[in-house]
């Protein structure tokens, strides 16, 4: 067993110092190499700066540098002896929903940045709402720029208290939230513990990232696996081999397990959990395997293998929450394509039943959904789909809506209403 892998996302408003924080993490974990540092030093001198601007380490495209904006989610990689990290770095400007949804969809943890001088602002609430909606299991509030408020404990405790209240109202358990006062510019509490915050007893940001559990809620959920591909070698020695290839979406599968093939509903037994390296005694969420079954059933791509007796519901009609990601707005009654697991089917989208106002955390009326809107709809699909509520199993409660003429992804869909709003105190 080697090091494991934590996928996490960052979110924050413009000017909260997110690029500097990400640059600091890369720099202090020695993930930035000499030629990259030299390039940043050259560019910093060109811009008339006296110290290297670490944010330049993470600026991507020339189009962005020229316009001083960040277009999209960028992925960063670093590692320590404890763990490897994949960081989805999401920009904080106006397209925040689209980018935060994208970055958060694969994250087991999100770092939300605020400026210590401003505390919790509207953008913080909006980001936290999206992270709660996407059911990111763990949250870090990074209170940045504490050097600019003289490391004032009272001020930082007040921000922490505000945020704890917000996180609770969004449904986060207290133990899933960690507040860390830090300065990305100076380096306080990012990798090295700061001597200037003796009152802070929690971990540094990196220490926390290295020690939080990586395993998400999928690990203990019932078994689900969308079938991607049927493997049939048709060779002389493997004439009768028929394996169903897929990535375990949730739960664990073992030889001998009773499973049901959905949507059809036939029940059978797993005989083998194969990999190219040989059979496995069990395979958990995230593992790509090839499953063989006791009975000869007609199974193809798009079907789903699920644990018998804890099956998802199979339905043509369900309520869902949509994060609208495209410039082209939702036209009520539109016929679109829906991709769920490995199945793509036609779908009719009803008129929005409401839109979530991410500032007030309330549901407001809506006639359509536009870019960055989050709304509630009822969907009718051509083929029946085995769906779980997104709140229960992310992998089988999520789907894409696709525009048939252009092929563009229009919306990220979540089955049910995963954002369980409880009134704030």
């Amino acid at each position: 067993m080697g090091r494991d892998l934590l996928r996490f996302a960052t979110a924050g408003s413009v000017d909260d110092g997110k690029s500097t924080l990400v640059g600091r993490l890369l720099y202090d974990t020695k993930s930035v190499l000499a030629d990259q540092i030299e390039a940043v030093q050259r560019a910093s001198v060109d811009k008339g700066l006296s110290t290297p601007d670490l944010s330049l380490l993470v600026d991507g495209l020339r189009a962005e540098r020229e316009q001083g904006i960040t277009i999209d989610v960028a992925y960063r990689y670093f590692g320590t002896p404890e763990r490897e990290f994949v960081l989805a770095d999401t920009p904080g400007h106006v397209q925040y929903t689209r980018n935060t949804v994208t970055g958060a969809s694969t994250a087991e943890l999100a770092v939300l940045l605020v400026d210590a001088r401003n505390g919790i602002v509207e953008q913080t609430r909006r980001h936290a709402t999206v992270l709660a909606l996407l059911r990111v299991p763990r949250l870090v509030l990074a209170i940045n720029k504490i050097d600019l408020v003289e490391y004032d404990e009272g001020m930082l405790r007040a921000i922490e208290k505000d945020f704890t209240g917000l996180a609770r109202s969004l449904g986060f358990a207290d133990e899933a939230v960690q507040t860390i006062p830090l300065s990305a510019l100076v380096g306080d509490n990012v990798v090295e513990r700061s001597a200037r915050t003796p009152w802070y007893e929690g971990p540094t940001l990196l220490g926390h990232l290295e020690s939080v559990p990586v395993v998400g809620p999928e690990a203990t959920a019932p078994f689900r696996m969308p079938v991607q591909y049927v493997i049939r070698p048709r060779s002389a020695e493997l004439h009768d081999y028929r394996g169903y290839a897929g990535q375990v979406a949730s739960g664990t599968v073992r030889p001998g397990d009773a499973v049901v093939v959905l949507p059809e509903g036939r029940r059978t037994t797993v005989t083998d959990v194969d990999t190219a390296d040989g059979p496995l005694g069990s395979a958990g969420a995230g593992r790509s395997v090839t499953i063989r079954l006791a009975d000869d059933i007609d199974i193809s791509r798009g079907d789903m293998l699920v644990a018998a007796d804890t099956e998802p519901r199979v339905t043509n009609e369900f309520g869902a929450t949509l994060c609208w990601l495209a410039d082209k707005p939702l036209r009520p009654g539109a016929r679109l394509l829906l991709k769920h697991g490995t199945r793509t089917t036609q779908v009719m989208v009803g008129a929005p039943e409401g839109r979530i106002d991410t500032e007030t955390l309330t549901e407001v009326p809506a006639d359509t959904l536009e870019l960055n809107d989050i709304g509630l709809v009822t969907l009718r699909t051509a083929d029946p789909l085995p769906v779980d509520d997104y709140a229960d199993i992310r992998a089988t409660g999520s789907f894409l809506l696709i525009d048939p003429p252009t092929g563009n992804t229009l919306a990220a869909g979540l089955v049910g209403t995963p954002l369980n709003l409880t009134p704030a105190e």
Binding site: M1, G2, D4, L5, L33, A34, D35, Q36, A39, D59, G60, L61, R62, A63, I71, D72, A74, Y75, Y77, G79, E84, V101, T102, S105, T106, P213, V215, A219, T220, Q228, Y229, I231, R232, P233, R234, S235, L238, Y241, A245, G246, Q247, T275, A276, G284, G286, R287, S288, R301, L337, K339, T342, A395, S398, F399, L400, I402, G407, N408, T409, A412
Partner: protein, 299 residues
Amino acid sequence: MTQALDALDALESESIHIFREVAGEFDRPVILFSGGKDSTLLVHLAVKAFAPAPVPFPLLHVDTGHNFDEVIDFRDSIVSRLGLRLEVARVQDYLDDGRLVERADGTRNPLQTQPLLDAIVENRFDAVFGGGRRDEERARAKERIMSLRDAFGRWDPRKQRPELWNLYNGRHAAGEHVRVFPISNWTELDVWRYIQREEIELPSIYYSHEREVYQRDGMWLAEGPWGGPRGAETLERLSVRYRTVGDGSCTGAVESTATTLDEIIAEVTASRLTERGATRADDRLSEAAMEDRKREGYF
């Protein structure tokens, strides 16, 4: 308590999932295969994704004509061992009939784009697997796992689709194609550790060997049909190895005595230069060199 997959297992499973999605949704996929370590890794993962059945895709090599013999021999041995079909698109053919002209600096990497795009059109490939990784370079950090290219093969960073969960949207119109990067989330060190764990065979030039080289722009280049030392540059015999393998005219060797994977991993861990910064003149052409080449349809 359920154990998390270790990092290499998690990356392997993700890559296998991507190969299978493409096999399930596209009609004519192809794997770009140069014989270099990243494309050799791709082929290894493809074999694992479809075992015990054979890989259901052919391979495509865009041949600059500036090759290392060891790499071509290796390429051919992999192809025959796996029984796969290999298509070769030759830059030399384009130079011979005037569709392309040799660059003043002799570098042929940028000349690969046109033969690549023509091969995609002629073979009607709709999904093209490449070994690009997001840790390589800034323009690649924003690349999608499935990246849509228009009928001219161009990449428009503003028109890429958001990628959510592990649901990939590979829809494309006739004439368009999708570039697929199954090892997007691997780092250089992950690649080497996995090569070691899986005992994947590589061309010998990745291991340290004696070679006649000359220094240009801070890189050690080998003499070859693409030219040799000019002016005050002189050949020296050094112990070197390659960290990347591309067009011979612009792929530099690094001084090294690493003859085993353990030693290479120790070197990569301690290295102070990225593999592209250290050894690829093509990426040094300008600040935005990779971004520009990607827009034109490069790998």
